[in-house]
Amino acid sequence: MIVVLWSIRRVLAALVTLAGVSVLIFASVRLMPGDYTDLVLGPLATEAQRALAVAASGLDLPIPEQYLRWIGGVLTGDLGYSFVSNVSVTEEFAARLPVTATIAALTVVVTLLVGIPLGFVSALRAEGSAGAVGRFVSALGISVPEFLLAGLLVFAVSTLGLGISVGQYSSFAEDPGRFFGSLVLPIVVLSVGCVAVVARNTRDAVLNVLVEPHVQASVARGETPMFIIRHHVLRNAAVPILTIVGALVAVLLGGTVIVEFVFNVPGMGSYLQTALGRRDYNIIQNAVLLAAAVFIVTALVVDLVSNAIDPRLRLTGGSRR
């Protein structure tokens, strides 16, 4: 019963946050200086032409009505049209979202396969020099910015060859091999930072469990290290690890702006970046709302799952609160 009430409260809080995000996006887009009519019609357009363009895009309506129309459209799946190219935003999303989602999903797979084992090893070897090396390498991993790593990789690949393509993007339907080939470098760039973050947090989570008395007790009972890890450490360390991985999934969908820009991948990030430069309201609003919604929903799911894994959280009201 308490769990159900807690879950309902958590869902309601997420909805409130989402509503707040939508208002903030809507307001900030409208407060932006610059005007898309300048871009579409050029600086020499007459007032009458401008007024016509504004009326055609519904920007002459009262602000609250514009907001309600937008939210209504989002709820019914109609995201409107790009002011500049007049292409349906829904169609563009359908084409671009899978690209970004592929990058994000493969990055998460790489991160889980490398980061978590790395974190475990560096926690279990925390005392030796291997632990110190691990700490240094993972600190280095989070210190290299994506844009720099991406730039250096472009440099390395373009001068040394290596048989990996840069910027030769091709859609999955046309040429699957080339599609994945063009995503290798973006995924590598994103993975470096993510692996380092997950490894650091896994190490901390495992060390936190290792100092607990019940682990000492099982060492004293003479249980084997593998047994202790399986039965005493894994489940206790799972919640913080899950939290950080969830945060990563959520951030990745909105965090591909730089790699898509550098490697010229037609995903959501590059779409949003171009739209921001053009003040293309419909695209900006919907893309940012989608990224924020993914973040909020992921955080919600992580909370609910953590609660199922670790019943102690129910007493204190959840891990993220």
Partner: protein, 294 residues
């Protein structure tokens, strides 16, 4: 013949090992402090005295390799790159430090209020902070810079907006654990005024947490400033920042790779040093159990 009990021996070696590792890690942090301090000192001297040359005078051909006149070669306009590099470091550091100080002050205050009062106040603060938290960092930065126009103020405001949510969360949790303790409760009962409780009872006990979070926020700030400038939404030419220099270096990397590699290396070293110092601060100031993992 003496028989040394094996258990004792094992305990001693284990302890030695622990202390050995601790000393090594601390040495790393010490080294990081020295490197970072030297970088800051050098930058301050370079910017104040202009000892490495002018940041605007043309002294040679474009993209010239290093020479006695221009120790790091020249950039796309034939200016000596070394003074430009220091100008860039100075901008990046000033923007990041100012932003983190603002962010730390704001989030300490609202985090303490939320943690101390709890209930509806806490709920309200956390919902507002959650809204900011839900934006992807760089997208939020680009939005802010589109609103304010690209430049230093936009970079500072976006760093503040990005770092506030996490810091506020952590401060709130830390405050909540302190606020429940007896010395705070007794101060409240004996009628100590609330601002005094905040300043004398709560703040000293969460200061360590704030310092640790601020050090991590500083590395995030440098990353955000770099990314923003890199995408063209941050500091604009003819000013310089590390991100801007890297972006310009990328345009010239096939024939003048040093213009990309040098500012890139400085950026990585600076962030790495800050992270290592942050790790070491955390080990000292925060006991393992109270650490936040998110």
């Amino acid at each position: 013949m003496t028989i040394t009990p094996t258990t004792t021996q094992r305990l001693v070696t284990a302890r030695d090992r622990t202390f050995g590792a601790w000393r090594r890690v601390d040495g790393l942090a010490r080294l990081a402090t020295i490197v970072l301090g030297a970088l800051v000192l050098l930058t301050v001297v370079a910017v104040l005295t202009g000892v490495f040359g002018s940041t605007s005078a043309t002294i040679g051909g474009r993209f010239a390799p290093p020479s006695p006149l221009a120790p790091l070669g020249t950039d796309n306009l034939g200016r000596s790159f070394l003074p430009r590099l220091f100008e860039g470091i100075a901008t990046t550091l000033v923007v990041s430090i100012v932003a983190v100080l603002c962010s730390a002050a704001i989030s300490t205050l609202i985090g303490m209020i939320a943690g101390y009062y709890g209930g509806a106040v806490s709920e309200l603060v956390m919902r507002i902070v959650d809204v900011l938290y839900a934006f992807p960092a760089l997208v939020l930065a680009i939005l802010v810079s589109a609103l304010l126009g690209p430049g230093r103020p936009a970079a500072i405001v976006s760093i503040v907006a990005i770092t506030i949510p996490l810091m506020t969360r952590v401060v709130r949790v830390a405050t909540r654990t302190v606020a429940e303790r007896d010395f705070v409760v007794s101060a409240r009962i004996s009628g100590v005024r609330t601002p005094v409780i905040f300043a004398r009872r709560l703040l000293p006990n969460i200061a360590g947490t704030v310092v640790v979070q601020a050090s991590y926020a500083l590395s995030v700030a440098i990353l955000v400033e770099g990314g923003l400038s890199f995408l063209g939404f941050g500091v604009q030419v003819p000013e310089a920042s590390l991100g801007l220099l890297i972006q310009q270096g990328m345009l010239a990397m096939t024939f003048a790779p040093h213009l990309l590699i040098v500012p890139g290396a400085v950026l990585v070293v600076a962030i790495l040093c800050i992270n290592l110092i942050g790790d070491s601060l955390r080990d000292r100031l925060e006991p393992r159990e109270t650490r936040s993992l998110t």
